[in-house]
Every structure is written in structure tokens, then in C-alpha cells.
């Protein structure tokens, strides 16, 4: 079973369609969307429609903090640009699309894998898994899952556990299938589809092969010029357009 993983799409339809096309070409059999479908980008409705179509065909979709903020209208904990994007997004979603976001669970457990947006420890707190310590806490709260798959942090990282169950971070090389045998535990930060931040403009996604126990991180160049132009045309903060142009 090959599961294609997508996180932090952030209303970037151009990036998402590029990733989905590549995932299909790589033989994806299952799709998982790890939260933050919306926020920042200019095409929230189209992204929700696309993801909802996959969900109707059995894809896993979990809720992210931006999705929740759009539902609740609560941007108190957000920075200005994020808050502005959330407010803008709220005005662009009809009841049907809001209901889709409303129906998203915080976590999905399926077999050896746990799908979650941020840390598995109190997922509603949206804690960033940004170091070994946070990775250890997320793994500890994952009820024995061998693979914890998340986003929220936009830089792709693989945490693997040593014999002492201490997670160690690894920055993956795109396109290289990494053996992830299930006698160890693995925490995967997939990286962002719609707003990469590691100084590479290419969109991130990953493929977890649960039969062969391999994980491959991928990068897809996409038309970020078009996505940035849409952000500007929508009147969203200039910073959000500049960010995807620089990949930071």
C-alpha cells in the first residue's frame, strides 16, 4: 500500500495539483491530507473541492489550525498576515465547504500509522514538532503507532528512534527511498505543499510504502508565479506572495 502524504496546502491550488499529478504518476494507492488545507493562499474553495473529492473516494483528511481558525473565526493566537488570510478565507467559503472543514477529525489512526496535523500530544494545542524533544512527546502520545505522519512545521524532516527510543532528526534527500522498517518508530514531518520554507520554492509531498516499508520525500517545481499573482490579485498581504516566490 503506497500512501501519498500532503501537508500544509494553504489554498495553493497550483502547488497541490502539481503534487497530486506526481503522486499519481508514482503509483499512489491512498491519499492523506495532513491539515491546513486553507490559509495564506488565494484558492481556498477550489482546494477544498479537490480534497473533498479525494475524501469521497476514501482519502484520509485531518484538520489543521488554519482550518480551525477559519471555522471559529478565532485568530487571536495568529500573526497579522495569517490572521488577515484567515479572515479573507472565511468570506470566500460557503456553508457546504465550511461543513467539510467542520467534519474533519483531529487525528486518524489506521493500522501502524497515525495521521495528525501537529503533535499527537494534545493535537488541539497545535504544538510544533520542531525538535527531538517535541518529536519524543508526539511519539509517546501516539498509542504505539510505528509511523506518526504530520505537518504544521513546513520543513521536511524525518525523526527516527534509536535503540533508546530517542528520536533523531534527519533532513531527507528528495527522491531517495529510505527504508523505514517497523521495528523502529518514525515521525515524519512531510513539509509544506503550498508554502515551502527551506529556501526551495518546490512543493513538498512524500510517499510512504507500507508494504515495502520505505519512505520517499519528493519536491515538485510548480508555477509559483501564477500562485503569487493570484495572491496579489486577491488583495492578500504582499508578504504571502513574496514568501512563495522565495520559498521561505
Amino acid at each position: 500500500m503506497r500512501v501519498a502524504l500532503f501537508a500544509d496546502i494553504h489554498s495553493n491550488l497550483d502547488a497541490l495539483t502539481a503534487c497530486l499529478a506526481e503522486a499519481e504518476a508514482h503509483g499512489a494507492e491512498r491519499y492523506a491530507f495532513l491539515g491546513d488545507l486553507v490559509g495564506y493562499g488565494a484558492e481556498p474553495a477550489a482546494v477544498i473541492d479537490l480534497v473533498a473529492g479525494y475524501a469521497a473516494r476514501g482519502a484520509i483528511v485531518v484538520r489543521g489550525n488554519h482550518d480551525e481558525a477559519v471555522l471559529a473565526g478565532d485568530t487571536a493566537s495568529m500573526r497579522d498576515v495569517a490572521a488577515a488570510a484567515v479572515d479573507w478565507t472565511r468570506g470566500r467559503l460557503d456553508a457546504r465547504r465550511l461543513a467539510f472543514l467542520e467534519g474533519l477529525p483531529l487525528t486518524v489512526r489506521e493500522g501502524e500509522a497515525l495521521y495528525v496535523h501537529a503533535s499527537a500530544e494534545e493535537p488541539e494545542q497545535w504544538t510544533y514538532v520542531s525538535d527531538e524533544y517535541m518529536a519524543a512527546r508526539s511519539l509517546a502520545a501516539s498509542h504505539g503507532a510505528r509511523y506518526v505522519l504530520c505537518g504544521h512545521v513546513h520543513e521536511p524532516t524525518l525523526f527516527y528512534t534509536s535503540a533508546a527510543e530517542r528520536p533523531v532528526p534527519f533532513t531527507p534527500v528528495p527522491g531517495r527511498a529510505i527504508p523505514v522498517p517497523s521495528h523502529r518508530r518514525w515521525l515524519v514531518v512531510v513539509g509544506s505543499v503550498g508554502q515551502p520554507r527551506d529556501h526551495d520554492t518546490a512543493a513538498c509531498w512524500a510517499m510512504l510504502d507500507l508494504a515495502r516499508h520505505t519512505l520517499t520525500f519528493h519536491r515538485v517545481p510548480y508555477d509559483w508565479r501564477a500562485a503569487a499573482a493570484k495572491i496579489r490579485a486577491a488583495g492578500l498581504p504582499e508578504y504571502l506572495a513574496a514568501r512563495i516566490e522565495r520559498g521561505e
Binding site: S162, A163, A164, V173, R176, I178, P181
Partner: protein
């Protein structure tokens, strides 16, 4: 895990034929299975009571790294068994002899040490280009094929930059083989390809002298001694060791990785061209460095931190070997200048780039007796003088540039052979004059139309025109074809 597999039993389609080795960490079996065109070896880790957990992690590392590696310098990977069920690794059984067997006959003549050392350096370079570092190089982990090529085996301590380093966090204590381990590995460093060059230096020392430069330390303190005690110079141990070989060996054994050769290909280059080794104090010394030097070394050792290293392949890329194909006769001065300028720009981009200036000349005509020898030698010197003069404006140090006059009637083949044998990363070669390409084509056409009527001048131009084309088409690396700007 059972201590031994039954002979005749079958595991995942592989039939156990015979046990060929029983070591501390693993047992090796000869197996048969699906046809691969080469003999198969199965490695099974010892995992019974009393076996350290580290041997399983090591085995996991070896499974992962070997599967990812390619080329003639590693055993070909065939299959692996799930660690949670029956862990095993099936790979090519390398034909040849262990380098360990040469150690038993050491000290060996310098030429043989250089030949074996260059073969091992070739193998290391192939590994480093793939982002992998062996980290346990020793004679027992090198096989020499019947054709003289080296194959590295046992990747249980290896580091591969494209995979998680499962060993990085497991050990606070140094891992490796005590006589061969590099100073930075003692300090826990696992990401510097030059660690393998230090171990190669120990192997070269051992082959050249029959002794180990740092003995066989059994304590961590004993291991650390190599940080401040320089080894006896090889020539003090075995007087037959030439200065150039000592220079190479001690250059590999520098404590600070930044003072070592920057890449295995450059070690191989020096071992293949002893006359181009820039021999300095390191090569000439017959005594251990004095107390002052020990003190200096010690002071550095106290604050010792392994240098930061990017991916192995990136580090190696900054230490490239550039080949400049220069005509030593009938030269077009504008083109010779243009080639030099192109080379200057390439050298400016690399930190440790070395330049090989190569000229291919036609074989000296047969004149008979000693006259031929004399003529050939005079010719050779004349060409070398021209090449050295060409390179003077680049102001390169002796160790940074080498000059070669190659006799061949097939210039393109000769350049390509040189590039392959010396791991050249970039070839700079002159383009034919602009009209020659066209006339060369005409020559080719006329040859096809009337094979006997191809006029001599055209075929000569055709030859000229096709050297750079052929080199560009078949080179194992980047080729820059240079043409002087015309008005």
C-alpha cells in the same frame, strides 16, 4: 536467531550450500538462488544471547547502505531479510583475495604499495561520490579482484549522507577498528570522507613498512594518542620506502582532516604518478617530530573538534581534477591563451582543484637502435618544456599541477583513457578552427561517396575536428570546448 543455518536448508528462495566464514559479528554462507551471473554470499548476524545490540544496528546499517550503493567497488546487493523476522543479506561473493594477505608479506616494494593503494583509493572515491563513507577501512575489509581492482566490504559502520545515520546516536564511545580509526572518528565524527583517507594512510603505512603507525591500542586513552603523537616516519621503519611514498602516507595521516588530501582521487593520482608528488619535509623526514611539535599537536588536540563537513559528494566535488588538453606543437597561440583562461576560471571556483596538463603527441618514428630512444627522450622533454611554459602564467604550486606527454596516434582515445584512469572531473580542450568542422564534414562525405578518393588534407582536418567532438561525446565528466574569440 539460530546460531547457524542448516546446510541444505532454504531461506526465502536461497539454498544454504556451505558455511564459508564464522566471525565475531556474523556468519557467512555460500548460497545458491535465482540466477544472477555471479556467486552469492549470505551474511547472517549473530543475535543470540550475549551478542551486543550494536551488532543488529550495524547489520541494519549494512543492509541499508549496501542496497543503495552501485559500481564495481562494492559487492552487488541481491536481497535482504526483514530484521524483525530473519535478518540476512545476500550479495555478490567477490572473487579475489583479501588485502589482509598482502599485509602478511609486508613490507612490500613501493610500486606494489602504490598499485594496491591506488586501487583502494579508486574504490573509496567511487564510494564518496555516492555520498557514502566507509568508516571501517582496514585490510580485512578490502578484496582485490584478479584484475587488480579493489572492492570494499563490510559496511556495518558506514555512513550514507542520503539516509538517517542509525549509528550516530547509539554510541558515545568511538566505533571503528582501533589501529585504523581516524582522530575525528575518535571524537565521534561520522560525516567526513577524509576519515577514510586517514585509514587508507594507516593501510599504506602497514603495507610499506610491515608495522602499524599507532600500534594496536586497547584503551580510549591509547586511541587518542594519535591526536598528539606523530607516527615514526615510514622511512625510519623501512629504509626502502621512497620519499614520495612517505609524503603520500603522512599526507593521509595528518591529524586535522583539512590538512589531508581533499579527496581519494587525489591520493590515487599521486600514487599513480610518483614523479609528480611534491615531496616536502613530510616526505624527507627520518625522525619523529620533536617535542615542540608534539606540544603543538597536543595543544591542537585539546581543543580538537572535527571540522564541519557537508555531504561527502559535495566535499569531494570541491577537490576536483581538471585536465587541460594542450597542443605542445603547432599551437594556435590565441587558442592556447583561451584554454589557459578557461582553466584559470575553473581553478578559481574550487578550493583544492588540481590540474593535469596533457599533450598527446604522435609516436616517434622508428629510427633504429639507441637513436630512437634518444630522439624520443629529447622530444618528450621539448614537449614538457612547452607545457610548463604554457602553465606558468597560472602560478600553480608544484603539488597542484602535473604535466604529461602521452604518445598516441589516437589523441581522443588517449585523452579519454587518461581522464578515466585519473578520475578527471572536467576536461578543457580546444575547439577545431571554425572552418575545419565544415571541411571535416566534407571529408566525411567524400569518403562515403568515393572511399579511395579522400584527399589527405581533408582527412587530416577531419581528425583534428573530431578529437574534441569525440572527447565531448564520450568523456566520463564535464567537457569545456574552448574557442578563441574571433573578430
Amino acid at each position: 536467531m539460530a546460531e547457524a543455518l542448516q546446510i541444505g536448508a532454504t531461506l526465502d528462495g536461497f539454498r544454504i550450500e556451505a558455511q564459508v566464514h564464522s566471525g565475531g559479528m556474523a556468519v557467512l554462507y555460500r548460497v545458491s538462488g535465482p540466477p544472477t551471473g555471479f556467486p552469492l554470499l549470505m551474511k547472517v548476524p549473530r543475535l543470540g544471547h550475549g551478542e551486543p545490540a550494536s551488532s543488529l544496528i550495524s547489520f541494519e546499517v549494512e543492509q541499508m547502505v549496501l542496497e543503495a550503493l552501485e559500481g564495481r567497488h562494492v559487492p552487488r546487493f541481491v536481497a535482504k531479510g526483514d530484521l524483525a523476522k530473519v535478518p540476512y543479506l545476500v550479495m555478490e561473493q567477490v572473487e579475489g583475495q583479501s588485502l589482509h594477505e598482502w599485509v602478511a608479506r609486508a613490507p612490500l616494494p613501493a610500486e606494489e604499495v602504490a598499485r594496491l593503494g591506488a586501487a583502494v583509493a579508486d574504490a573509496l572515491h567511487s564510494l564518496h561520490l555516492q555520498d557514502a563513507i566507509h568508516l571501517d577501512l582496514k585490510p580485512a575489509n578490502v578484496m582485490i579482484r584478479p584484475d587488480g581492482e579493489a572492492v570494499l566490504v563490510d559496511f556495518g559502520l558506514a555512513h550514507h549522507g542520503q539516509f538517517p545515520d542509525l549509528l550516530a546516536e547509539e554510541y558515545r564511545r568511538p566505533i571503528g577498528s582501533a589501529p585504523y580509526i581516524s582522530p575525528e572518528q575518535i571524537a565521534g565524527g561520522r560525516s567526513d570522507p577524509r576519515s577514510d583517507l586517514f585509514s587508507l594512510g594507516v593501510v599504506l603505512y602497514e603495507l610499506a613498512t610491515g608495522e602499524l603507525p599507532f600500534g594496536r591500542p586497547t584503551s580510549e586513552g591509547g586511541l587518542r594518542a594519535r591526536l598528539w603523537h606523530a607516527p615514526q616516519p615510514p622511512r625510519a621503519v623501512a629504509p626502502g620506502v621512497p620519499e614520495w611514498l612517505q609524503e603520500v602516507i603522512l599526507h593521509c595521516l595528518e591529524v586535522d582532516a583539512r590538512d589531508r588530501y581533499p579527496s581519494a582521487s587525489q591520493v590515487a593520482f599521486d600514487l599513480a604518478h610518483p614523479d609528480h608528488v611534491a615531496v616536502g619535509d613530510r616526505g624527507r623526514g627520518l625522525r619523529k617530530p620533536g617535542r615542540l611539535s608534539v606540544l603543538r599537536r597536543w595543544v591542537r588536540a585539546v581543543g580538537y573538534e572535527p571540522p564541519e563537513v557537508p555531504r561527502a559528494s559535495a566535499a569531494v566535488a570541491r577537490a576536483s581534477i581538471v585536465l587541460a588538453a594542450v597542443a605542445s606543437t603547432h599551437a594556435d597561440p590565441a587558442q592556447a591563451d583561451a584554454i589557459r583562461e578557461a582553466v584559470r576560471r575553473i581553478l578559481a571556483t574550487g578550493e583544492h582543484t588540481r590540474l593535469a596538463v596533457v599533450s598527446v603527441v604522435r609516436p616517434t618514428p622508428e629510427l633504429g637502435g639507441s637513436t630512437r630512444e634518444e630522439t624520443a627522450s629529447r622530444q618528450r622533454i621539448r614537449h614538457l618544456v612547452a607545457l610548463r611554459h604554457w602553465a606558468e602564467p597560472l602560478h600553480l604550486s608544484a603539488g597542484q599541477v602535473a604535466f604529461h606527454v602521452v604518445e598516441s596516434a589516437e589523441p581522443a582515445e588517449a585523452l579519454l583513457a587518461y581522464a578515466r584512469a585519473n578520475h578527471v572531473d572536467h576536461i578543457v580542450i580546444g575547439a577545431p578552427p571554425r572552418d575545419v568542422a565544415l571541411r571535416g564534414m566534407l571529408g566525411a562525405v567524400s569518403t562515403r561517396v568515393a572511399p579511395d578518393a579522400a584527399p589527405e588534407p581533408l582527412s587530416f582536418f577531419r581528425l583534428l575536428g573530431t578529437v574534441s567532438t569525440k572527447v565531448a561525446a564520450e568523456a566520463p565528466c564535464t567537457v569545456t570546448v574552448v574557442r578563441a574569440r574571433t573578430s
